[in-house]
Amino acid sequence: MPTKPLNRQGESTSHPRAEDVDAELVAQARKGDKNAFRSLVERHQHKVYAVALGIVKNPDDARDLVQEAFLKVWKSLGSFQGQSAFYTWLYRIVTNLGIDHLRKVRAKVEYDDSRVHDEHDIAEGDHIVPQTAGLHPGRALESKETGLAIQRALDTLSDNHRAVLVMREVEGMSYRDMARAMGCSEGTIMSRLFHARKKMQAALAEHVKVEQMKKGT
């Protein structure tokens, strides 16, 4: 495959697709080109960190996971066949590391409420409320308070609920892939996802209600 000149961010003047840039950088990194690998790291580190942060919550743990993930990628580049996009492969690696981390931590946790909502336990008639909180598409974080409310809501989710939500909403993983990553059935994934979303919806609705009350007073 002919190579195009790339700058530090892995961009060329012809603006190729991000996946093509990744593929080219991967090809160079497989030959031992550390600069190419550095470009891959810099292109993806923030998104990978967002995934790690969403799964493990603690920023220091998330940083460690991101480093570990990229080291694993470096060691395994020779086996990467390019059947999936590089970022998909990378996000799976950091997700699996995050889930392994949660498993270790979970041994110390006395109670995890996701166990209550694990299997196919969605009550008959239970549904996502047919109402939005009125956040603007693409501008959910218009106010600092909204960002804090979303973060608080995420923090109150159990590890399992938060992990599936992040895998789905940030990584776009399929039910099948999430089930494989978490070692459970697709039904369990759907149940966790449903309950996580219900809790997030309730928290957002509560936040909007409080904000409206503040404005009204």
């Binding site: 497989r30 030959k31 031992g32 550390k34 550095r38 790291v41 810099e42 580190q45 923030h46 998104k47 960190y49 967002a50 995934v51 942060l53 969403g54 940083r63 991101v66 480093q67 080291l71 694993k72 470096w74 060691k75 395994s76 020779g78 086996s79 990467f80 999936s84 492969w89 799976r92 690696i93 969605i122 239970d126 549904h127 996502i128 409320v129 047919p130 939005t132 909180a133 956040l135 598409p137 693409g138 959910a140 974080l141 909204t146 960002g147 979303i150 973060q151 995420l154 992040v166 789905r168 909403e169 940030v170 776009g172 399929s174 759907m190 996802l193 979303r197 997030m200 919806q201 957002l204």
Partner: protein, 148 residues
């Protein structure tokens, strides 16, 4: 009116094109609001995590660049082949290394061999590194193998 499961699967892209078309055609006004609520929740989660990550001063490269030299720069991918002698050779090596790992403990350097689990995204596997010969062997479990 669509079911709860259909709405979730439609939102998450888990339906075939034909199924998605059928469900879209059956959506009530309430169902559409539920879909909109699901989109809103997804946007909120994604935007918050990405904003938080973006606000962090992150320099992963500084943390890993020194460690790359200690890692194998190039590995020999050993995928499943029809040649039985290769499969047999790797199987013997894997069995020996696994036995050593069981005796001494996982993920520790063992008398010249380091064993580590590796995630390949679509599949998982083990990495055996023989220090004396600087040989690295990757044992990858493919989907095809898992189904067998």
């Amino acid at each position: 009116m669509a079911t709860r499961e259909e709405i979730m699967k439609l939102h998450d892209g888990e339906l075939s094109e034909a199924e998605a078309q059928r469900v879209r055609a059956s959506l009530s006004a309430e169902d559409r609001l539920r879909l909109e609520a699901l989109r809103e929740i997804g946007d909120a989660v994604r935007e918050q995590l990405e904003a938080r990550a973006g606000a962090s001063k992150l320099d992963v490269w500084a943390g890993i660049s020194d460690r790359l030299d200690a890692e194998p720069a190039a590995v020999v991918p050993l995928r499943r082949r029809r040649s039985i002698w290769i499969a047999s050779g790797v199987a013997v090596l894997a069995a020996a290394a696994t036995a050593m790992a069981l005796m001494v403990g996982p993920h520790r350097p063992l008398d010249g061999v380091t064993i580590e689990s590796v995630d390949f995204g679509e599949s998982a596997g083990m990495l055996f590194q023989i220090h004396d010969t600087k040989t690295t062997v990757l044992w990858q479990t493919t989907n095809e193998e898992e189904q067998e």
